[in-house]
Point group: C2
Chain length 343, copies 2
Amino acid sequence: MQMNIKKIAEMAGVSVSTVSKIMNNYSDVSEKTKRRVLEIIEQTGYTPSSSAKTLATKKSNLIGVIFAGELNVEFTHPFFVEVLNSFKKQMGVLGYDLIFFSNEKFINSGDYYSRCLHFHVDGCVIISGEQMEPAIQELDRSHIPCIGVDLELTGRKSGYVMSDNYQIASKVVEHFYLLGHRELGFIGSRADSDISNRREAGYVRAIAGFGLVMNPKWFVHGDDFFEPSGYAAMNSLIESGDLPKAVFAASDLLALGAVRALKEQGLRVPEDVAIIGCDDIEACQYTSPTLTTIRQNKERLGVLAAHMLFDLINNQSEGGSFVVEPALIVRESCGSGLNRLNR
Amino acid sequence: MQMNIKKIAEMAGVSVSTVSKIMNNYSDVSEKTKRRVLEIIEQTGYTPSSSAKTLATKKSNLIGVIFAGELNVEFTHPFFVEVLNSFKKQMGVLGYDLIFFSNEKFINSGDYYSRCLHFHVDGCVIISGEQMEPAIQELDRSHIPCIGVDLELTGRKSGYVMSDNYQIASKVVEHFYLLGHRELGFIGSRADSDISNRREAGYVRAIAGFGLVMNPKWFVHGDDFFEPSGYAAMNSLIESGDLPKAVFAASDLLALGAVRALKEQGLRVPEDVAIIGCDDIEACQYTSPTLTTIRQNKERLGVLAAHMLFDLINNQSEGGSFVVEPALIVRESCGSGLNRLNR
DNA sequence: ACCCTGACCGAAATCGGTTTCGATTTTCTC
DNA sequence: GAGAAAATCGAAACCGATTTCGGTCAGGGT
């Protein structure tokens, strides 16, 4: 039988307010009645209704999760999924559950702000990597605490986490350089992808920094961060007849697609072309050749996002950003640079 | 400024009830006042509070998502992620949002039923593939509509979807058989994995059905459905010095792990050992060799789960199950069976 | 002019909690 | 043992919606 606070109160012979106080650790309840009431709560398996509680307190202990951007990443992108996993776990220990807004109900309207109000979420996390849309800006500027993952939110109650994309790029160039490569190519996502652009900009800068010249013909772009885009991009490079000796792909999936295209044409990785990816998703370890990549600390990104959001919700911070350090993970797709590097 | 129904009513010069009726398509409101009120709602961007609505109606339009089982699959298993993606999309068009319970808050208590009541979810989907835990049974037996994905729920208000695991196994054996293989091995998940066991049972039966003999030494098990387990399992097979000519792995990730182990020992796939996986996750297309596998129709599983749940919620069905047909996808890891088969 | 009928609208109870503040009881102090 | 302080408890307003049911009013029929 479905319980509510009134029934509990009756059974215990106390008032509704007393039961409520007990559930919320008020101090003005005697140990004796507290025990008695808790006993009954235990027996009946009573759980307070979240909607009633939310209605009364205007707090829901719910975090909205938004996958922004045109290409519906949703759960398909391994990088975001891993960040999300870590975020969910951390948010769980902080006492919050996650609610995922479906985009289908409001097709093209994407009115995230309204839905945040609708559900009374205490805060939300926005996962993107693409350009900022108006609907997101509205949220960013609102009073609702928001954390962007790979999305630069600058509102008063907002913050974001991302990896240092410039450092990512410069680590790649350095590695290529030390391995003796001077002809560096790049495979990115679509032109309006903020993250891809940062990596490209950092790459270009690092190339100059090492005194190399960049060849625009070796810079190609796919439609997204997924494997087929990398495959297509590398094929276009191959067809041009002018291949660089080393290619940095803005995601591991792009890199994997590039490798597949190369192999299909009978070209060897790393002997003919060296490849470095980005993210360090699990698959990197299982492919052949295993993929040299830049690791983004996905677990830390998730934990940081959770803590920043928590602080924002509890007014213990004013927003801001956290940029986490990437790390070069040397595997096979660039040759055994290990030996040379460790010398 | 945050709106509520009362303010809207005042601004429009009508009563609260009238506004509510307009929001819910009641017929006893004149076109004129309806237009006037809608105008104001539009201008103010008013969205009704879900908690107040849920409190009053006892419907939340929320679906709880539960990852059951000891090994925290969460978002890490590509198969479930794809089913979930499709489920989320379909549930979205039906007007529902998803809420993910975190396990951390109630460590080891896993009292899913209470949390369903707490959030007033209209139904929930339980993703598993492992054995049934008591906390799930409680939910299954409750009045809350539940759909299991790879989990056999039999309650009065429950149902489940899964692929036909026996057919999966028999398609594998048939394919191996037609390719001329007579020595068939198996790599499964842990012994208490329901799904793995079904596939194994079907495999054993099919082997007998083709008049072959099964060799228990060629049947090994990992700890889960992930890559490292497959790697370890294949290594133990290799170490035994007695390798089958063909191996069916209960998941693609297991299969990929097995391939990696084989390659590491200088063995060739498919020349030395043929491999078939299961699920047809995206990665199958990108590995080398590409992986022959049994495709589970993940999109259909998700859509079916959504519709079954919807019907259950609206009392339009009495539960039951849907078993979807698997399909053999021939790629490289068994050799070019294509030619022989198409003859 | 009167009654009847439908169309339209609103008052008020309700959902299940929280929180304030005053009332009552207990304990303490001298 | 009286009075004050502290501890304990409950009445009632409130959160923002829904829904029932009765009231008002316009217009049509006679």
